[in-house]
């Protein structure tokens, strides 16, 4: 069996809200082997996005442990987590989260610059061409359609060749055809770079394309099904 890139042990998340403490995740244990495509599904409020945040080190677990590529994410401070992401992870959001004051090219080049890559812009150009946006490099997010913005976001996430790609409902804000196209790009990138892909989705079609699907309900794993063998 391939060594896991992500290991969650009894991971818990409790948040303080205006209405008091809310338990989001109640002890999730999960292993994600290298190269696997894992779909996280479940009804709204089941904790899918929160689980993805914990995997990306964007949120701090309140219990249990999370190991990514052998590193204990729960033991790292904010800056160490940022460095870890810069070297090993790419993240795609439902709302794209492109930086509005930067062109498509600059958006994609930013993580490469942060990682100190001298050829940041050349690689960013290459990545944008790979997602079919060779002609839109100097456009600002506001000058692009939702589908194009998400492709820029994908290129940005994939540009540093991350071992782990996290995607939070990447087609949630797109129409069906555009969403389909984006998923082709996402899976294409995963295949090209051999990354481990974990995505949160509501879409059964999208879930069907994953190697494995974990269903969450009320912050717990409700079902864990392998759809096809990991390559």
């Amino acid at each position: 069996m391939t060594a896991p890139v992500l290991t969650l042990q009894d991971t818990k998340l409790t948040l303080d809200g205006n209405a008091g403490r809310v338990d989001i995740l109640h002890g999730i244990s999960l292993e994600v082997p290298k190269g696997e495509t894992l779909g996280l599904i479940g009804p709204s409020g089941s904790g899918k996005s929160s689980l993805l945040m914990l995997m990306g080190g964007l949120e701090r677990a309140t219990g249990g442990s999370i190991h990514a590529l052998g590193h204990d994410l729960t033991a790292m401070n904010e800056d160490a987590l940022a460095r870890f992401r810069r070297e090993h992870m790419g993240i795609v959001f439902q709302s794209f989260h492109l930086i509005p004051t930067m062109t498509a090219l600059e958006n994609v080049a930013t993580p490469l610059e942060l990682a100190g890559k001298p050829d940041a812009f050349e690689r960013a150009e290459e990545e944008l061409r790979a997602v079919g946006l060779g002609a839109r490099m100097d456009h600002y997010p506001s000058q692009m359609s939702g589908g194009e913005q998400q492709r820029v976001a994908l290129a940005r996430a994939a540009a540093p060749r991350p071992e782990i790609l996290l995607a939070d409902e990447p087609t949630g804000n797109l129409d069906g055809a555009t969403g389909e196209a984006i998923m082709d790009v996402l899976f294409g990138l995963r295949d090209k770079h051999g990354s481990t892909l974990i995505l949160v989705t509501h879409s059964p079609e999208l879930a069907a394309r994953c190697d494995r699907v974990v269903r969450l309900r009320d912050g717990r794993v409700d079902a864990d099904e392998a759809r096809r063998a990991a390559e």
Binding site: L58, E59, E78, H97, M102, R156
Partner: protein, 843 residues
């Protein structure tokens, strides 16, 4: 490495334009402009004083004497030292125009000059004839007079008037007098005649009150310090006072320095008000950037990189704001130079002065750093999770220690810089403490208002009162504008309230308190042989309530216990020039002796003196100390045997020194008198006394008070300008706060409309929340402003303080109205937008 990347990202971020930073720029630019403008005017005047020093003084150096002309020895020294020596005589007198049935009298400051006057600068006359021609003796000696006195007395060139017993022919109006600012505060308009022409006036005799000045044109290369040292060594103990062109108008210079420094402090308060706006603008900007910051974190940016990204952006904006402010602050004085110069008694050197601009720039940069560092430090704490859920960065508590240390260092630099550069460190430190204290009070007030509003919004009493409940909920709710509005408005109002309190107190102390107790007239130069007749006329008048007289001499305190007085007590005002001295066998009626005993009526031992208690305390004098007073060139050393309370505020006869009569036996002197009379008795009394004793000068106290009040009104006007700059900044900050809240109001209005609220009700709710915040800020402002007013009046002006409710309430109502207007003007757009578009965009 991370700095270079941060700079690149910052540059890209700035492409978004300066839209969110208009308030930031306005706050910094206004504060810097106000300080730079005040500083530039201050330096322009100082440079004018230096550049025109010789003309303002009337010579390269001047030796002054009181009551006497220079001795042969002194004249010989001056003749040997200077290329030219010009002698002037200066005194107060009454100009009299006798038209038979009507006799006009006007108080005037007379200057008797010689043929060399003026050594420097020029006298301008109307008609434009040479001064020499105007003063020449034809049938009568000639004279020139300021237009204001000519108008008052109905005189035109060619008319005659009398000074003492000498008739003069008025030849021209005096338009400019180059050395007018050097002489200090004159109580009457100027008349210039020749000293020779005054010989027959009977006004310059031994014992009468006059001053002489010997202006010297020194050879090129003469070192003023050396000449001064020599003159002082030889003649200082004879009562000689030295002035030179480096400090031609010390009174004006001191006044300009003080008022300038005070205005810079008001400007700094304005900058602090602006700082609150700057902080709010940066907070709002960073709130808007939350997703970008979180995205950068997601992409691997460390906290330090993020901090630098926004630090660079704020740095660029600060430089733009400071530059704008400096340009404005440099240009404004140039634009208004003619107006300012018209109100100054001296020429000012207007131009671009780097010193005050650098000072204003430094204050601007430090203020921007202080007020932005806290919100900037918070960027480090923004978690990438902000992309997933609506968290505001979890910014609670204090920033990291390093930022707190940096904040402390920056604040110390700002306060230390202000204390050092203003030249009035105590007032600067008190002001800084006041601003910090006011900010603390306002933060507490904002916290309480939010807590109380939150409580009240849930109270049963407000159920059904939707507009009020919404307003309370909004003020008390999370993410509201309550804190920034209360802080910015409150600090602005506090500064205004303080200035208002000081202004009202100053005006009141002049307008109300003095005239109630002040005499109608001061009479000076009453000769010994005139005193009985004078008293008979004055005391015999049934409408005269009280007449006080005292012998009057003038002397300079030269030594304290044998040591030069200035070495012992520094630059105390009692040592600066000559002071009135009197003698008496007994204390005056109602005198309060606080320490020691009065001498026996027949005391004939060594000289003894009664000294004013408060001044003695300031000079560090104790009973038994010996002071040496030079009177008419003669040193008298007297032992202090008692202290008495001297209250200068009653405008009566007050001397800081009273000697035993034997000590001054034989010294020529005159008498001073105060007459307290019904207003109806004033004119006839003056007419009779002036006719009988033409040499006596009468000073109408009401006129003198009006002149002092005029001078203070100028001071009040200057502080008002400073306050206005603060007010404008405060209003800009307010608009900023209102504008920052607009986005939230647009959404709120859309939701409320969807739920069925009519526009009127929404508007009422918006108005109520502005009123609540305005009132909270206003109440603190009244309290803090009154406290500041009390501090300044008590410790700086050394006057009594009384709370002035009208000024305070007007300022608070103004503040509440300003918030209301700013709030409502930004509420109109939200009300006019259809909800659908807003709500769709929020999805």
């Amino acid at each position: 490495m991370s700095a270079a990347i941060a700079a690149r990202i910052a540059r890209r971020e700035l492409r978004g334009g300066l839209k969110g930073f208009r308030i930031f720029l306005a706050c910094i630019a206004l504060g810097v402009a106000a300080i730079a403008a005040v500083g530039s005017v201050r330096v322009a005047i100082s440079e004018g004083l230096t550049r025109e020093g010789a003309a303002i003084l009337g010579g390269d150096a001047e030796m002054q004497f009181t009551y006497r002309f220079a001795t042969e020895e002194e004249r010989a020294w001056m003749a040997a030292t200077a290329l030219e020596v010009s002698e002037i005589v200066d005194f107060r007198s009454m100009a009299v125009v006798d038209r038979g049935d009507v006799v006009e009298r006007g108080l005037t400051q007379v200057k008797g000059v010689d043929s060399l006057y003026p050594l420097y600068g020029t006298v301008t006359l109307d008609p434009a004839i040479p001064l020499e021609e105007a003063l020449a003796t034809r049938d009568l000696p000639g004279a020139v007079m300021q237009q204001v006195l000519m108008d008052r007395m109905g005189l035109s060139p060619g008319d005659t008037f009398r000074l003492g017993t000498q008739e003069f022919e008025l030849r021209a109006a005096l338009v400019t007098e180059p050395d007018s600012a050097g002489g200090g505060f004159g109580l009457g308009p100027r008349t210039i005649v020749t000293t020779e022409g005054l010989n027959g006036s009977g006004l310059i005799t031994t014992g009468t009150l006059f001053e002489t000045g010997y202006r010297m044109r020194l050879p090129d290369g003469a070192v003023l310090d050396d000449v001064k040292a020599e003159a002082e060594a030889l003649f200082r103990d004879n009562g000689m006072r030295w002035r030179d062109s480096r400090n031609g108008a010390p009174g004006v210079a001191r006044f300009v320095d003080r008022i300038g420094a005070f205005l810079v402090l008001v400007g700094l308060a304005g900058l602090a008000v602006g700082g609150v706006g700057v902080s709010a603008a940066v907070r709002a900007y960073l709130d808007g950037k939350m997703h970008v910051i979180a995205t950068l974190k997601t992409l691997g940016a460390e906290g330090r990189t993020i901090f630098l990204v926004y630090f660079f952006q704020i740095g660029v904006l600060t430089v733009i704001g400071v530059t704008l402010g400096l340009m404005l602050g440099a240009i404004l004085p140039l634009l208004f130079a003619p107006l300012i110069e018209a109100r100054l008694p001296i020429p000012a050197a207007f131009g671009v002065h780097p010193g005050p601009l650098a000072e204003a720039g430094l204050y601007g940069v430090l203020t921007a750093l202080i007020f932005t560092l806290w919100p900037l430090a918070r960027t480090e704490e923004v978690r990438a999770a902000a992309l997933f859920r609506d968290v505001t960065g979890g910014a609670k508590g204090l920033p990291r220690g390093i930022y707190l240390i940096a904040l402390g260092v920056l604040a110390a630099m700002l306060i230390g810089g202000a204390a050092w550069l203003s030249g009035i460190p105590t007032l600067a430190l008190i002001s800084a403490g006041g601003i910090v204290g006011a900010l603390g009070l306002l933060m507490l007030s904002a916290f309480l208002v939010r807590r109380i509003s939150r409580r009240l919004s849930r109270a049963k009493a407000v159920r059904g009162k939707t507009a009020l409940r919404l307003a309370l909920g909004s003020v008390g709710g999370p993410g509201g504008e309550a804190t920034s509005v209360v802080l910015s408005l409150g600090l602005g109002l506090t500064v205004l309230a303080a200035v208002g309190q000081i202004d009202s107190n100053l005006r009141n102390s002049i307008a109300n308190e003095l005239p109630e107790v002040a005499p109608s007239y001061f009479f000076i130069d009453i000769q010994n042989d005139q005193l009985p007749g004078f008293l008979e006329r004055a005391e015999g008048d049934p409408l005269v309530n009280q007449v006080d007289t005292a012998p009057m001499l003038r002397g300079i305190i030269t030594r304290i216990n044998g040591q030069p007085a200035r070495e012992v007590a520094g630059d105390h005002w009692t040592l600066r020039g000559d002071r009135g001295v009197t003698y008496s066998t007994a204390p005056r009626d109602g005198a309060i002796i606080t320490q020691g005993e009065w001498w026996a009526e027949d005391y004939a031992g060594p000289p003894v003196v009664s000294f004013a208690e408060e001044e003695a305390l300031e000079l560090g004098l104790t009973l038994g100390d010996k002071i040496t007073v030079n009177i008419l060139g003669r040193d008298i050393t007297a032992e202090i045997v008692n202290f008495q309370v001297i209250d200068f505020s009653n405008a009566g006869i007050n001397f800081i020194m009273t000697l035993n009569p034997a000590a001054l036996a034989g010294a020529p002197h005159t008498h001073i008198a105060t007459v307290y009379a019904e207003e109806a008795a004033e004119a006839p009394l003056l007419r009779d006394l002036a006719t009988s004793y033409p040499n006596i000068t009468a000073v109408r106290v009401r006129d003198a008070i009006a002149r002092v009040a005029d001078a203070l009104a100028g001071l009040a006007a200057a502080t008002s300008y400073g306050a206005a700059a603060t007010l404008v900044t405060g209003f800009v900050v307010l608009i900023g706060a209102a504008a920052a809240g607009e986005r939230a109001r647009v959404f709120e209005a859309a939701v409320l409309k969807t739920l069925g609220a009519a526009r009127g009700r929404i508007l009422l709710s918006f108005a109520l929340r502005s009123a609540i915040l305005g009132a909270a800020a206003g109440i603190v402002a009244i309290f803090a402003g009154a406290l500041a007013g009390w501090g300044v009046m008590t410790f700086v002006m050394e006057a009594t303080y009384r709370f002035e409710p009208v000024s305070a309430i007007a300022i608070v109502i103004g503040g509440a109205l300003a918030t209301l207007i700013a709030g409502l003007s930004f509420a109109l757009r939200p009300l006019s937008i259809r909800p659908a578009g807003i709500l769709r965009a929020q999805d």
